[in-house]
Symmetry: C2
Subunit: 359 residues, 2 copies
C-alpha cells in the first residue's frame, strides 16, 4: 500500500531533434524550445504537476548532452537520472521505477508534448494512479478527434473503475482504418503517458523482458550518485536491447488499462501539428489562421505558420505552408510535407549526435 498517496511524475527528455528541424536540433531538441509561448515544453511538463499536492517533485530522465539545458529550465529541486546511452522508453522508465519505492505510483510523461488543459490532465492522472495502485499498467487514451495516421491507437475493452481494460493496441493505421476507428468511438490515441506502480512495472518487466529487467537492476546497483543526479552503470545499461514501453510491456501484459483523457493534447510531432496547436490559441493567430512567431508580413495568406529567430519572413499568396527560419537555415514545407522534414539532409546531417532516448 502506498503510504503517502503521492504520484511520482517521471519526465522523459529525449528525441532526436529532427522532426521540428531547423528549430529543433540534436543539441537543443523540441522539449527545450519555447514553441508555444514563453515556456518550453519541458517547463510546461513540470509546471503541470508542480504545485499540486497530489504530486511529488518530478524525476527527470535524460541524456548527458542535455544536462545544462535541464538545469537551466528545471522548475523545482528534483532528481535527474542520466541515461548513459539512448535505449528507447522501456529501459528509461525501468530505471526510474528501480529508483522509486515499490509501492510508489509513477506517472510517466514525455517532456515534448503539448497539453492545453492541465486540469484535465491532473484529473486523468489521479484516476490512472488509482488504477495503477490496483496493479494495472495504465495508458492515457487521448480522445481521437480526427483520423490521424501517424499515431498508435488503443481499443477499449471492459470497464474498470474510472477507465477500461485495453482490448488491443494498433500501430499507425492507414487512413480508412483510422477513419473507422474514429467513427466507432471505441479507439483512442496512445498518448505515451502512463501510470504504473513501480514494483509492479518491474515485476511485469521481469516476466516479459527478463534480460532488460536484470540489466536495469544491475545498472542501478552499480550506478553512482552525483549530487541530485544519478548515473546508472554505463556498461550494464549499454548492454540492453532498447525497446519502447509499448512493445516491451503494454502489448504483452494482461494488465493493460486505459483512462480517457480529453485535454487538448498534441505530440507536436511536426510543423503542421505545431501550427495547429498555435492556431488553436487566438492570441497567436490572425483572422486568416496565420500564426507568426518572430517578425513576418503576410499578403493573401491562409493558415501559414511563419517562425523566425531573426530575419523577417514575407509571405504572399501561401496556404497551409510552414516557413521556419532558424540558426541560418530556411525551411518551407506544406502541411503534408511536414512529416518528411526529419529526412531532409539538413535534419539528418547534424553535427552533434543525439544522446537522449530515441522515440
Amino acid at each position: 500500500m502506498n503510504v503517502s498517496g503521492l504520484i511520482y511524475p517521471v519526465i522523459l527528455c529525449g528525441g532526436g531533434g529532427t522532426r521540428l528541424w531547423p528549430a529543433s536540433k540534436h543539441v537543443r531538441p523540441k522539449p527545450f524550445l519555447p514553441l508555444l509561448g514563453e515556456e518550453t515544453l519541458f517547463e510546461a511538463a513540470q509546471k503541470r504537476v508542480v504545485g499540486d499536492r497530489r504530486f511529488a517533485a518530478p524525476m527527470i530522465v535524460a541524456g548527458a548532452t542535455h544536462r545544462e539545458l535541464i538545469a537551466s529550465q528545471a522548475c523545482a529541486v528534483q532528481r535527474l537520472v542520466i541515461e548513459p546511452v539512448a535505449k528507447n522508453t522501456a529501459p528509461a522508465i525501468a530505471l526510474a521505477a528501480a529508483l522509486l519505492q515499490p509501492e510508489d505510483v509513477m506517472l510517466v510523461c514525455p517532456s515534448d508534448h503539448h497539453i492545453s488543459d492541465d486540469g484535465a490532465f491532473r484529473e486523468a492522472a489521479a484516476t490512472a494512479a488509482n488504477l495503477a495502485h490496483q496493479d494495472w499498467l495504465v495508458s492515457f487514451g487521448i480522445a481521437a478527434t480526427y483520423p490521424e495516421t501517424g499515431y498508435g491507437y488503443i481499443q477499449r475493452g471492459e470497464p474498470l473503475e474510472g477507465g477500461f481494460r485495453i482490448a488491443r493496441f494498433v500501430e499507425k493505421p492507414d487512413l480508412a482504418t483510422a477513419q473507422a476507428y474514429v467513427e466507432t468511438g471505441e479507439y483512442c490515441w496512445n498518448g505515451g503517458i502512463f501510470a504504473f506502480r513501480a514494483g509492479f512495472l518491474l515485476d511485469e518487466l521481469a516476466r516479459h523482458r527478463p534480460q532488460m529487467h536484470d540489466l536495469v537492476r544491475q545498472a542501478v546497483e552499480r550506478g553512482e550518485e552525483e549530487g541530485r543526479g544519478f548515473r546508472p552503470d554505463h556498461e550494464s545499461f549499454a548492454a540492453i536491447d532498447g525497446e519502447s514501453i509499448d512493445y516491451a510491456l503494454m502489448e504483452n501484459t494482461d494488465r493493460a488499462a486505459m483512462v480517457r483523457a480529453d485535454m487538448g493534447w498534441s505530440d507536436i510531432g511536426n510543423w503542421a501539428a505545431l501550427s495547429d496547436a498555435l492556431a488553436a490559441q487566438p492570441k497567436f493567430c490572425d483572422s486568416d489562421g496565420n500564426v507568426v512567431r518572430g517578425h513576418a508580413d503576410f499578403d493573401s495568406c491562409r493558415r501559414v505558420l511563419a517562425m523566425s529567430d531573426g530575419p523577417r519572413i514575407s509571405a504572399v499568396g501561401l496556404e497551409d505552408v510552414c516557413v521556419i527560419v532558424s540558426d541560418g537555415e530556411v525551411l518551407v514545407t506544406t502541411r503534408e510535407g511536414a512529416q518528411r522534414v526529419g529526412k531532409l539532409p539538413g535534419a539528418v546531417n547534424q553535427q552533434t549526435p543525439t544522446r537522449g532516448p530515441c522515440r
Copy 2:
C-alpha cells in the same frame, strides 16, 4: 542622312528595386544583379551590342545613386548621362537624343530585360534602325506567346519595310481581352525597346510635349561635362513633368511603327517571370522544373525557384512557389503572388530612396 550608318544604343538604368525584392533593392536594383547566370542584366544589355560593328559604344542613362555599380559593370568606354532626378522614360530618352547628332539613329534598351536570342535582337535592331532613318518612331513588338495581363499590347497596322505601322496601343488588358489578342495574331507585347532618329524624336517631342522638349534642351545647354559623364542642369530637369515615352509620344505621333521581334524576351518583371526565364535553360533546372541559385534541398517539389545569398533553403512538397533569401530577408511567394511583392512592407520601406527613373 546618317553618315556613319551606326546605331547608337542608349541603355536606360532605372527601376525602383521593389518587384524583385529582397534581392533587388533601391541601392542595387534589378539591372545590377546576376539573376540569370554570372552576368548581370546590365552587363548582358551591353554585351548584346558591343562587338557588333553596326553599333556604336552604348550611352548609359542612370541616376547618380548607381554610378559606382555602373562603373564596375561597364563593359566598354562609354558615355554616362546622370539623371538629376527620376522623371520616367520620355525625359531620359530625350536627354540622350539631345546629346547625339540629329541624324544619329538611337536604339533605346532597358537595362533590366532578359533576351535569350541576341542575334534575333540585333537583326530586329537593324530593321528598326532602317525604319527610324525614314522618320518612323519604332517600337519592338514582342511575339505574344501567352495572354499576359501585366504588359501593354500594340496592334499592327499596314505593312512597312520590315515592319508595320502601329494601329493602336492598349494598356494592360484583362485576361479575356489578352486571350483574344493572342488568338488574332495581330497584337504584340510592347517591349519598351525603341529605335528613333534623334532629331526626329526631338521634333515630335516639341510637337506633342513642347514644355518637356524645352526643359530637356535647357537641361542639356546648362549641363556640365564631368569626365566621360554628363550632368544635365538639375533645376531644368527637375521642372519636367515626368512621363513615359509611350504616353508622351508613341500614343500621340502619326509615325508610330513596329518591328516584330521573337527573341526569347522577358522583362523579368517579378519572381515568377525570373523563374520562367531560368527554367527555360536546362542548366539551371532539375527534371521537376525546380531551379536553385545558391544552396537548396528539395523533397517532392515542382517548379520551385529557390534563390539564396547564403543560408540553405530546404523545401518540402511545394509547387509553383518562389523562395528568396537575400540580405537577411526571407520571401516566400506563389507565382500569382509574385506580382504583389513590390507592395510588401519590406519592399516599400527601404531606407535609401530611389534616384533612378521610375518605370
